[in-house]
């Protein structure tokens, strides 16, 4: 698994596409936070962490869309699936490589807490917890995108399906749904939304249910991807 992980990771570090996505993310994330920093007048990173899932919705899907779709297009998937390694190993290695690269992208947002520390007194533990939440959130987003990339031969189709699915999951527990459905249903649906669980981390809490949710969510989509690869149709 380590060798495949290294190969996948080196693709992103040796290819302009990885850096383009990383730089675009850094520009957007830093700009969207800094533009209102002095208007807000506090040193909380909460506004940054609030917009992060929406940025990840686009950036993670863009980063991941090629992971299987490109292999299908140029048929290297045939090389991969006729090597003596299991489908689970292939999917997990790709997931970890993307997770590490997402971690690298997140490092580019460290300028924000460093700036805040220079001009104020941000709550460091809260920031660390929130980054932990971002890490789990990105694992779940990556797993959805990997699944759609394994289904599609076209990267754009994979990207659009991934964005739409993650978007629907994000808004499934949103307050606006209470206009259309009974309150108790909306509250129960809320539990299925990654945003609901992510928000627990933003409060500086580590809710075990949320950790289990993200791990189960990621494993479910890894499992679905493995099933899809095993179909051999």
């Amino acid at each position: 698994m380590v060798n495949l992980f290294k190969k996948e990771l080196s693709y992103y570090f040796n290819n302009p596409i990885g850096y383009i996505i990383a730089i675009l993310f850094a520009v957007f994330a830093n700009f969207l936070f800094i533009k209102d920093l002095f208007l807000r007048g506090d040193s909380s990173m909460r506004p940054f962490f609030d917009i992060l899932p929406w940025l990840f919705l686009i950036f993670i899907s863009a980063l991941t869309m090629r992971i299987f779709a490109e292999e299908r297009r140029v048929n290297t998937i045939e090389v991969l699936l006729t090597l003596p390694i299991s489908e689970t190993t292939i999917v997990v290695a790709k997931l970890f490589a993307l997770l590490i690269f997402s971690g690298f992208i997140l490092l580019l947002s460290l300028s924000i807490p460093l700036t805040l520390m220079a001009i104020g007194k941000p709550h460091l533990l809260e920031i660390i917890m929130a980054y932990g939440g971002v890490f789990l959130l990105s694992a779940s987003f990556i797993s959805v995108s990997i699944f759609f990339s394994s289904l599609a031969k076209n990267q754009i189709v994979a990207f659009l399906c991934s964005v739409l699915t993650i978007f629907l999951l994000m808004v499934v527990g949103g307050d606006f749904l209470a206009f259309f459905i009974p309150r108790f249903i909306q509250e129960n649906l809320n539990f299925f939304s990654p945003l609901y669980h992510y928000s627990n981390f933003l409060k500086g809490l580590v809710d075990l249910r949320s950790v289990v949710y993200f791990i189960s969510f990621t494993m479910l989509f890894v499992f679905l991807t493995v099933i899809n690869l095993e179909k051999r149709e």
Binding site: V79, T82, R232
Partner: protein, 226 residues
């Protein structure tokens, strides 16, 4: 031994393989020939477990390439049709990657020599000529010292000199390995194979020893394929 027992494969409504059965004994070199779209590549893909048969069974030394895929794939070297490669990688990176997965460091040095890729070892795969790409694909298939080689159109698109080199390499390899060589180049079969299987429209239409007379495979092919 490789056994295909009444293997059929459908793609939707289209029948790509129709009740295909044959056995390949150890040490045989099979020339698997047929016109375009006859089912050669599908057969190769079913043997290596890349495709699941719709009906029938494939076994390699009594193991199923789908259920026991890791064990089976350790015994097989496979050169897929059109030789898909990770073009962004260097030859060294690609073959080291395959080596690490097949866990076979010892043979890499001799393979470089055998396949004639020493001089392009540090080149990017996308910059290589078709002939060199084919050699890299062949080297990748040979890593792990597999007992069985499945080669799908290994000389397709190469110039006559490159074709000759690859063919000689296959002949050398055939002294130690079981080989299934899928091709539509009939002289290649006459040159290399010990047995000929002809497939047309998903059905086996001929399975027998290679005719001794030069040009006989072509005559047989023209007679059987309408």
């Amino acid at each position: 031994m490789i056994v295909l027992d009444k293997v059929s494969k459908f793609f939707g409504e289209k029948k790509a393989l129709d009740d295909v059965s044959f056995k390949v004994k150890e040490g045989e070199i099979i020339g698997f020939v047929g016109p375009n779209g006859a089912g050669k590549t599908t057969t190769m893909r079913v043997i290596v477990g890349y495709l699941k048969p719709t009906a029938g069974e494939v076994t390699i030394d009594e193991k199923n390439p789908i259920d026991d895929r890791i064990d089976v794939l350790k015994q097989i070297g496979y050169l897929a049709e059109n030789n898909p490669l990770y073009l962004e990688m260097k030859v060294s990176e690609y073959l080291n990657f395959i080596t690490s997965i097949k866990d076979d460091r010892e043979n890499l040095h001799s393979l470089k020599k055998q396949t004639g890729i020493e001089e392009i070892w540090q080149s990017k795969i996308e910059e290589l000529s078709r002939g060199y790409k084919q050699r890299v694909g062949l080297a990748a298939a040979l890593i792990g010292d597999p007992k069985i080689l499945i080669l799908d159109e290994p000389t397709s698109g190469l110039d006559p000199i490159e074709q000759e080199k690859i063919r000689n390499l296959i002949k050398t390899l055939g002294k130690k390995k079981t080989i299934i060589l899928s091709t539509h180049i009939l002289p290649e079969v006459e040159d290399v194979a010990t047995r000929v299987i002809i497939i047309d429209k998903g059905k086996i239409v001929y399975d027998g020893a290679k005719p001794k007379r030069r040009g006989e495979v072509e005559r047989l092919f023209k007679r059987l394929i309408k």
